[in-house]
Symmetry: C2
Subunit: 290 residues, 2 copies
């Protein structure tokens, strides 16, 4: 099953026989002070620089979050969308808990976007799915519901089924639903990594939908987070993870995901691997001999 996203003229395909899709996570002011300050002042230059850097590092889609406290989020998200689209041709993923903000951004967006996200909660489904239907957007479905985070793969599969079914009721085909099986910190619950991986295999087998993950959370509170995060991405790819919201400007993440493509038979003649390695070498040489 292939999920197609698009910007003005550029299409990105997410699917298990396609190269892994990195959704760049950096345009998110909740975790980044300088981005927050500039966006709060209506200055989008840092956000645009983040967009450029992530695309250069291999992001095929950009997550865009305009959650600046006190700001008019719908206006800010729409402004950011226009600003990025004015200079870049890359699909966007609108990341907000505010349906009005997602609506405003989709209204000015020129292609097929991704919505981040709904859960299995009734309230969320009824707010988010009509937007996906209205704009023919794809949507990320996170496997939680009114009762919280289901503890077993089977219980999470039931939430995935519900989201896909409710999407269908709104006329949204399954290929426009990307399921997030929910990576939780293994430092808090050492069995949670396995539950998520088993859920991914199960959801892919039973529903055939594409899978995405916010994978940085899994290492929270533990040392050497980078190794945990890159290893989790590789384990995920073998369990049919097809996209992740992550930071491609971290070279270890980017190279691990390219190695996954290479080792999963998705990098013809290792061409992308060799190209990325050379680009890294060149960048390293440039930074030591300015």
């Amino acid at each position: 099953m292939n999920t197609r996203l698009s910007s003005q003229t550029h299409q990105v395909i997410i699917g298990i026989e396609q190269p892994f899709v990195i959704i760049g996570e950096r345009i998110n002011p909740t975790r980044r002070k300088r981005l927050l300050e500039t966006m709060a002042a209506g200055d989008l230059s840092v956000a645009l620089e983040d967009a450029r850097a992530q695309i250069a590092a291999g992001a095929q889609v950009l997550d865009v979050n305009a959650g600046v406290p006190g700001a008019n989020e719908p206006k800010l998200l729409a402004d950011l969308t226009r600003a990025i689209m004015a200079v870049m041709d890359v699909p966007l993923c609108f990341d907000s808990a505010n349906p009005a903000a997602i609506d405003a951004a989709l209204a000015v967006y020129p292609g097929k976007a991704l919505i981040n996200s709904t859960t299995g909660e009734e309230r969320m489904l009824e707010q988010v799915l009509p937007l996906a239907a209205k704009y023919s957007a794809a949507v990320i479905g996170v496997l939680t519901d009114e009762s919280g985070i289901p503890p077993t793969p089977d219980a999470r599969l039931a939430v995935a089924r519900k989201i896909v079914k409710r999407a269908a009721d709104h006329g949204i085909p399954a290929e426009n639903v990307i399921v997030d099986c929910l990576a939780l910190p293994v430092g808090a619950d050492w069995k949670s990594g396995r539950v998520t991986l088993d859920t991914m295999r199960l959801v892919q087998r039973e529903l055939g939908v594409n899978l995405s993950l916010g994978a940085s959370n899994v290492s929270f509170g533990l040392p050497d987070r980078k190794t945990i995060n890159t290893t989790y991405l590789a384990l995920g790819v073998a369990c049919w993870l097809t996209a992740a919201i992550t930071d491609p400007t971290v070279s270890e993440i980017r190279m691990t995901l390219l190695a996954c493509d290479l080792l999963m038979g998705r990098d013809e003649y290792a061409a992308r691997w060799i190209k990325a390695y050379r680009a890294l070498q060149k960048a390293a040489a440039a930074s030591t001999n300015p």
Copy 2:
């Protein structure tokens, strides 16, 4: 299915719900000049130092190869076995293309060893399986046969079935057969990584046996081999790889495999992860402040 190996008093269990087992690859003179020279002169001190370093770095089993050109391999492998057993209590994996050498080593070995390896070739099966039966050893079965390397997962599964069947004919239970699905350089054939991973899933599902891999070969001829090798190990773990012949003294390999255990729910309270991280930090501090 659990494969049990032992030395004098120590048992190692290989299985999908067990921590991943690293079979240390360093005691192999074919690739290491100083080890070759010392072993050729009958000096086993470098080999013993390699044994110690690998155990300290997390090897649970040691691969032992005495392939020194011109040497009496059966005598050398038996001497090496005695020398290691005199000071260490860790299961060994006898790595030789010479059945007489494996026989000589097994004859002096105090526990249940692993034989590396047979293939699906008649000649090999008839030489190696009787040794595994005679000494109640486990054996690695590499998925090649008279016609070479089967190109598809199904054809490799057929070789795995044959090896398991022929082992049974010799009274060797399936839990004493560890299948190596054969990692080939993706630089030479960009589809080969995927064939091996798909074979691993298939062999585990159909036969339930444990899987091992010599994983360093996959990156041959490509840049940034370390990232390719560690990523392949993680992809393999998600496809039920339970052991690998690799070098735990490379900290990236060791930490990736520990991260796999952590993320597969095999590291209670992340205790081994945190312990290994602290040990690495301590070693780094010691090397900068001697």
